[in-house]
């Protein structure tokens, strides 16, 4: 399982994400993002949504993925957070996933969007690393 750490960014919120493979990178980035909003332990997996995205490249797909999850989190009658992610398809330009989560009473933080700020997915000997900046 991948790891994430919050790092300093003057105006916004940034996460450094490390993962063992591509699917782990996308799942860890999503978990890291929701950790900025809620206590992950308190989120149930009672709610199921599907996500299907196409993008120009892997970085765009990652940004689109996170923004899609933010949209799903804010667009229901109550706020929601997602904590489990299964990928039926995950290619550099296409993703199809089932995401599980639950309703939450509130968010700690306000994230407008995941951005392309200095975004680069780098392959390492251990897997992949990237830094994500969220506009707040």
């Amino acid at each position: 399982m991948g790891t994430w750490a919050e790092i300093d960014h003057t105006a916004d919120v940034a996460l450094r994400v490390s993962a063992s493979d591509f699917a782990d990178l996308f799942a860890t980035a999503a978990r890291g993002m929701f950790s900025l909003l809620v206590a992950l332990d308190a989120v149930t997996s009672s709610l199921v949504c599907t996500v299907d995205l196409q993008a120009l490249d892997a970085e765009t797909l990652l940004v689109d993925w996170l923004n899609e999850l933010l949209y799903l989190a804010e667009s229901g009658p109550a706020l929601r957070a997602f904590v489990a992610f299964e990928f039926a398809v995950l290619e550099p330009t296409h993703l199809r996933a089932v995401v599980r989560g639950g309703e939450v009473p509130g968010f700690f933080n306000y994230l407008k969007a995941a951005t392309f700020h200095n975004l680069e997915i780098t392959a390492t000997q251990e897997g992949y690393v990237t830094t994500l900046v969220f506009d707040t």
Binding site: Y71, A73, S75, G106, A113
Partner: protein, 483 residues
Amino acid sequence: MTRKQDFEQVGEFTWELPKQHDGRMQAPARIYGNAEVFDLAFRDNSVEQLVNVATLPGIVKYAMAMPDVHQGYGFPIGGVAAFRYDRGIISPGGVGYDINCGVRMLASTIHHEELQPYLESLTTQIFQDCPSGVGGKGAVRLSENALDQVLEQGAHWALQKGYATQEDIARTEDGGRIPQARAAVVPSRAKERGRPQLGSLGAGNHFLEIDVVEEVYDAKVATLFGLRQGCVVVQIHCGSRGLGHEVCNQYLRVLQDAPQRYGIPIPDRELVAAPVESQEGKDYLAAMAAAANYAFANRQVLAHFVRLAFEKVLAGKISDWHLQQVYDVAHNIAKVETHDVDGKLVKLVVHRKGATRAFAPGHPALPEVYRDAGQPVLVPGSMGTASYVLVGTPQAMAETFGSCCHGAGRTMSRHGAMKVMRGEKVRSDLEQQGVTVRSGSLRGLAEEAPYAYKDVSLVVASVTGAGIARQVARVRPIAVIKG
């Protein structure tokens, strides 16, 4: 890598990086500020972002950073750049996610000592009547048709529905309606997010504040703006909510391959752009204008509910509780404007990202009542500190396309701010200073603590020193409401 010594000091408060510094630059870059502010610009990626803006095609005069500059995405926050309408670009990175985030100020004749016995209950009433927080639903629910009207008519929709007065409309930038707006090009997902949120403050750095006019620097102009020493004013800082964020998101996606298609060299993919007159450019301009209109209507509806709260709490206790609008300014926007460039009037798209329009006396876009004085420029400080009312100058028209700073500007990350002090402590410190606080999030209070920002007085001294604005009055908060 751009260094301090690459800049030339061309005025006491103006620093210029010549175009020759980087072969890609199409125009010089300028930073406004005293030596301390200039140094602060190098603490993060702001200057590199400013240089990137200067490489974009069709840029006119300079890429500019106001003294509240800090790094953003694409443009730095505090960035101003104008592009020729006929052969320049438009970029969502020059506007930001919160399209037409802005500030509205309402003035009263209530002396703060007269208000003091009712301040707690008034703050609570406003907190109840003006919904705030992440994803918060607004005071008004809109049908699909009504939302389309809001998107195309902006504050004029609010006027028709009884949420505004004619005077409010006149005292709002562009009369609260940007004419290029087209509801048809606003993505359906943006509309879905916008329908339940009109009349809501949101979260993050947005706030509603009750302030006292602490010092008047220009009595004549302050009187004209309705500002009286010792009297209470209200500031509303918010934007286009989820609708604006979604417009930005969707058009960043739409414009992904536009630079390649139109041969626009962009140094950073956050600066995706299209020619203003391309279909993509026109559509983004129209959708961005529609989101801006939503924001004007949003602040108007919030102003209505603030007025009702004043009436509920103060009627029968204070002789005149009415609030008169001073002005409403946008500080995240791209606008089609005509400016004098080398002696010729040229149609431009002026991007102001974390920057405020500051038109000079005599400008035809100003309401008649302010035409001789100039445009009010509202510069909120960080939470719990002073805010300023400035006025635009001819020098701003000559140098900055009539633009000025928008606030204090962060110097510390939200993460860093939270490590310094907990929200409870920030709240108790504010209350000890005599500031009543209502907030849905203690974490939000910690993130927005005053020590995370520059001293707004330093920023204001820089713009007034540079001559791009003049001071009219300073206000200090007595109550803060945050999401």
